[in-house]
């Protein structure tokens, strides 16, 4: 009895520490301290669990803890910041693996003796767990470029996917009334695994921020369901926090792209442009500029806003961006960064990449905070961004990105765009900004162009 009270108290303390830890993430100044609180919470929860009287042998536990710690530590040390979206995707898979296997073990141990409600929770746990396992793995494979990032589309895809999911849900309901049907239980897991694959193969690279957030939410819900099955409140709480976070982030990401969940999951972005009329660029002229001339504009500007996009991350040019910003600052230029919510491949990714390149975080501005400042800015420097600065989102109701909130780059007094070539960006949409009379294009690899700009600005 005393032991059980101890465990409950420890779990309660851990839950409070988790919430405090997440609360501290409201500011970079308190974030690290908060994470120590969360770590302490986790340590307490593990210690509390280990004294549980159900645990009679420690050999396999020790093995799992040691192997997991080694793999986890290696990932924590060596995964580059550019690979963060993949790492997050694969870790959703690990979380879902744990939740699903715990569900299967519980089912094996207790078998048909589960109550209806508990069986429903267990079914939910393994169904959402299994679809998160394969869904996250496919997201990982796409982001890691083990498979093509573009959506895989075939006829009747949505109908088949939805039918498969509804059939799996049907089995779940049946199992709640007849928990003893082992074959159906494993069939449901198989369907969940298949659905995860089919759901994510049809999603393109640009939609990954939404998908990763959504899978985050599913992984959280699966572990929350584990808590219902085991009647364990800390699992319920931690899973709910994770689920709420993933849900909120996917809402923010969808809003930043002006798309609904349904549209992301069933719309197949990047596949629709064949039917949309791409505005012809013929008859419009592009003004190209040399690094030397661009450097003069930048060095004599009073204020410059840098707009980094995914192209910058692909070119690994964040360090050169920072270098250019610091030589401009030495010339007395006021430099700020405008970060669109979907500038990277996952929520907040661009901020991490720039922080790694030693850009101070008080120079990084969110879209709402900086959009009015473009009017008063001499030069907007666009590095590898395309859709997030495309005025078609505002002006062209036929455009696939119409309605998406964008950065007001076109309001700046002049605009310099660093771009490899005139090929359209990820979504395949023509960008009017490039033909704007105020815009100058500096063609070439982003890294090389930036290095040239740094040299030229120094000489001005």
């Amino acid at each position: 009895m005393e032991r059980e009270v101890f465990i409950e108290v420890v779990y309660l303390a851990a839950s409070v520490l988790f919430i405090l830890g997440l609360r501290s993430l409201s500011s970079p100044a308190t974030a690290r301290r908060g994470m120590f609180q969360a770590e302490l919470g986790m340590l307490l929860a593990v210690v509390g669990t280990l004294v549980n009287h159900e645990i009679v042998r420690y050999d396999w536990i020790a093995g799992g803890l040691i192997i997991g710690s080694i793999i986890g530590a290696l990932m924590a040390i060596y995964v580059p910041m550019t690979a963060m979206p993949q790492r997050i995707a694969i870790s959703h898979m690990f979380g879902a693996v744990a939740a699903t296997l715990v569900g299967i073990v519980e089912y094996n141990n207790v078998g048909g003796n589960l109550g209806n409600v508990t069986m429903a929770a267990l079914g939910f746990e393994v169904l959402f767990g299994s679809l998160t396992i394969t869904g996250s793995f496919i997201a990982f494979a796409k982001l890691q470029e083990l498979m093509p990032g573009r959506p895989v589309i075939y006829p009747l895809q949505n109908i088949m996917n939805i039918s498969l999911f509804l059939a799996a849900c049907g089995i779940l309901v049946y199992l709640a009334f007849d928990p003893t049907n082992v074959i159906l239980f494993y069939t449901m897991i198989g369907m969940g695994l298949l659905f995860g694959v089919l759901m994510v193969v049809r999603i393109g690279g640009a939609d990954m921020p939404v998908v990763i957030s959504l899978l985050n939410s599913y992984a959280g819900l699966a572990s929350s369901a584990t808590g219902f099955v085991l009647d364990n409140s800390i699992l319920v709480i931690a899973g709910a926090l994770d689920g709420a976070s993933g849900f909120l982030l996917s809402v923010i990401m969808s809003r930043a792209m002006n798309r609904s969940f349904a549209n992301v999951l069933f719309g197949g972005f990047g596949a629709v442009e064949a039917t949309t009329e791409i505005r012809s660029a013929e008859g419009l002229t592009v003004h190209s500029i040399s690094a030397e001339d661009a450097a003069i504009q930048l060095a004599y500007a009073r204020s410059v806003i840098i707009v980094p996009g995914y192209g910058m991350a692909v070119a690994q040019a964040q360090h050169q961006v920072q270098e250019l910003a610091s030589v401009m600052q030495e010339k007395g230029v006021d430099v700020k960064y405008a970060i669109h919510p979907v500038a990277g491949r996952m929520p907040g990714h661009m901020n991490v990449l720039l922080a790694e390149a030693n850009v101070p975080y008080d120079k990084l501005y969110e879209m709402e905070a900086i959009n009015d400042e473009f009017d008063r800015t001499d030069v907007a420097l666009v590095v590898g961004a395309n859709d997030v600065v495309n005025p078609a989102a505002r002006n062209d109701s036929g455009s696939p990105i119409y309605g998406m909130p964008i950065l007001n780059v076109e309001n700046a007094k002049s605009i310099i765009v660093l771009k490899r070539s005139m090929n359209p960006g990820f979504s395949g949409i023509e960008n009017e900004l490039f033909y704007n009379p105020k815009t100058s294009m500096l063609f070439g690899d982003a890294k090389a162009s930036l290095t040239a700009l740094v040299g030229e600005v120094k000489q001005v």
Binding site: V56, G95, A98, F228, S233, I234, L235, M346, A355, E366
Partner: protein, 96 residues
């Protein structure tokens, strides 16, 4: 519905509500660390995994439990480790 499950339902709804409130105050600047932190916290499935691996309900359960412990530990250690690595990089620009 059993009384126990009802209590857990209260816990779930309240925790999700608190989570939503707390997390909506996290700035976009820290959304990636937030995701990796919640990922580490979701490694709490370790709690269930430890019981599965250690309660000696037959070899299959033990091995599945072992895999679950390994997977959850990767998330806890890897998640907290990488969150700290990211947060260390965020610096203010008060050099002058």
């Amino acid at each position: 519905m059993s009384e126990v499950t009802f209590t857990e339902l209260y816990v779930f709804i309240l925790a999700a509500f608190v989570g939503y409130q707390v997390i909506s105050r996290v700035p976009a600047l820290l959304h990636t660390p937030l995701m990796s932190a919640t990922n580490a916290i979701s490694g709490i499935s370790l709690v269930g995994s430890l019981v599965a691996a250690g309660s000696d309900h037959g070899q299959l359960s033990t091995i599945l439990g072992f895999i679950a412990v390994t997977a959850a530990t990767i998330n806890v250690v890897g998640g907290f480790g990488i969150t700290d690595r990211m947060l260390r990089m965020f610096k203010r620009g008060d050099r002058d």
